[in-house]
């Protein structure tokens, strides 16, 4: 059965600081959801509560109708990876990469050992190395291996790309997509690098100041903006009554990113004026939407 996470009026406070403020959300699968938001927006807090790492101050998180916190059945189906996966980092002397794999193999009911070995090779990890000797990127790669090979019905990566170089990040995205196609499940990826992960995402959850700003299909969200490129005067006239997120000029050519859906009439008008209309990067929409919340 495809898992459904139901979050109702979720609040989380750290002393006087409110991290999550009344989040209500349903996360369905099998899909890859992107959780985006600025620093301190509550991404890690939300994921921690979803995975039962923390108890909510108020509200509820349910997996297929069952509360998650302290529920053994629900928690077996969830895997949240932060950094190197809260693994054997401090478990000296058994704090090598192979010990981290052994721990996960022991405790994860759906662990795929062969796949884990293949991932270790792909990320060029040395199983004999201690986690404390690894670079931040290599530790993140260990986390990615633990998360993917766990094959949990709900797999969550919290900024798992931290410190990874570009080839490793793209290897992670490729592996995530390939494994998701072979073993469809609910995946949540929290990231600042919206443009990089946007090709993976089927839906976007945007948090700001602990509140849910939007939860929308990624394609629909992309349709909420457009990049208009053409002769300076024609672009200026076309965007005059629209919300312009960003503008760039090169000689007589201008490119403007506008927020708001373009209907068929708008597109015909743009074509008649000799303007190119392209999809807008999610990153631009993300910056615009979160800056708007500030104002």
């Amino acid at each position: 059965m495809t898992p459904t996470i139901t979050i109702s009026d979720l609040h989380l406070s750290y002393g006087r600081t409110t991290a999550l403020d009344g989040i209500t959300l349903t996360v369905n699968g099998p899909r890859i959801h992107g959780l985006v938001g600025r620093n301190g927006s509550g991404k890690t807090s939300l994921l921690s509560v979803i995975a039962g790492f923390r108890q909510a101050s108020a509200g509820s998180v349910e997996l297929d109708g069952q509360p998650v916190f302290e529920n053994a059945t629900a928690l077996r189906r969830l895997c949240l990876i932060r950094g190197s996966g809260d693994s054997v980092d401090h478990d000296w002397p058994t704090n090598r990469v192979r010990h981290a794999l052994r721990l996960a193999a022991d405790l994860r009911p759906n662990w795929d050992d062969d796949y884990a070995q293949a991932l270790v090779d792909r990320f060029q990890l040395d199983p004999r190395q201690r986690l404390t000797e690894l670079s931040t990127g290599q530790r993140s790669a260990v986390g990615v291996v633990l998360g993917l090979a766990a094959r949990a019905p709900v797999t969550i990566f919290d900024e798992s790309y931290l410190g990874m170089d570009a080839p490793s990040r793209y290897a992670f995205y490729d592996e995530l997509l390939t494994d998701y196609m072979e073993h469809p499940r609910t995946v949540i990826v929290s990231s600042h690098l919206v443009d990089e992960v946007s090709r993976l995402l089927e839906s976007v959850i945007l948090l700001d100041h602990g509140r849910l700003l939007l939860h929308e299909d990624a394609e629909a969200l992309r349709g909420r903006g457009a990049a208009i490129t053409g002769e300076h005067g024609a672009v200026a006239e076309f965007v005059a009554d629209r919300t312009v997120l960003r503008q760039q000029h090169l000689g007589r050519t201008t490119s403007a990113v506008v927020y708001g859906e373009l209907g068929p009439t708008d597109r015909d008008r743009a074509a008649a004026a000799g303007l190119d209309v392209d999809a807008v990067p999610l990153q631009d929409l993300f910056v615009h939407l979160t800056a708007g919340a500030d104002q």
Partner: protein, 232 residues
């Protein structure tokens, strides 16, 4: 996901907490015993005649290592289990099983240590008398020694586990549990291994109360403990 695989992973979790901690406790105890025997030979050869059991003194150091093992259990092993889909309740059950199993296992090894030491002291023609303890007065009272340490060792580990959980949760919580931990340790030492003679009816309720009290307070600390409470 089948029930069989869930059962296997649960058994493996149990092995990691119960069996690994029994082996850890035996490792520290065996290390202390080896040191005690080596020191006895060294003192006899280079310092002078032995006057009392070195093992009964070294056991005090072993107990502090066992307390450290308890700290390790709640600060390292518990987060590992929680991060891999186990509940705090499951951890506490396994942890309690570990406490109950470690006592007799360590007790047997400590008794074996006294027996070995007795053989060594006999060979060296040295008097084999224990340092003052309340529960046994001679190193050949094997049954009393076994019962005494079966009761005492779980308390030391449980106190370590409580302190570790307190520090893992928050410094404020740690300050709260330290007096409780100290009181429980003091109780068991007065009633089981103190300098005054004690009897079984005195010792058993005190040790059981100390372990139960320690596990109960530890449960209060860990039942909602966040994983990595310092990160947000």
């Amino acid at each position: 996901m089948t029930s069989t695989t869930i059962d296997r992973s649960t058994l493996r979790a149990a092995r990691r907490v119960v069996l690994d901690y029994i082996l850890g406790a035996l490792f520290f105890t065996a290390g202390g015993l080896a040191l005690a025997l080596a020191l006895a030979v060294g003192v006899h050869l280079f310092v002078g005649p032995l006057s009392e059991s070195g093992w009964s003194s070294l056991i005090q150091i072993v107990l502090w290592f066992l307390l450290g093992l308890g700290v390790y259990c709640t600060t390292v092993t518990m987060p590992q289990l929680l991060s891999h889909g186990r509940t705090r309740r499951e951890f506490t059950i396994l942890y309690t099983l570990a406490l109950l199993s470690v006592g007799p296992a360590t007790g047997v090894l400590i008794v074996g240590g006294y027996w070995l030491e007795g053989v060594l002291y006999g060979a060296l023609e040295a008097p084999h008398t224990p340092a003052a303890t309340g529960f046994y007065t001679a190193p050949d009272q094997f049954w009393a020694i076994f019962v005494g340490y079966t009761l005492t060792v779980p308390v030391w580990i449980a106190v370590g586990g409580l302190v570790g959980a307190g520090f893992y949760r928050s410094h404020r919580c740690a300050l709260g549990v330290l007096p409780v931990a100290a009181a429980l340790l003091w109780t068991v030492h007065i009633h089981v291994l103190g300098s005054e003679p004690v009897s079984l009816p005195q010792a058993v309720p005190a040790a059981v109360a100390a372990v139960v009290g320690c596990v109960a307070v530890t449960w209060l600390v860990v039942r909602t403990i966040p994983l990595r409470p310092w990160s947000r």
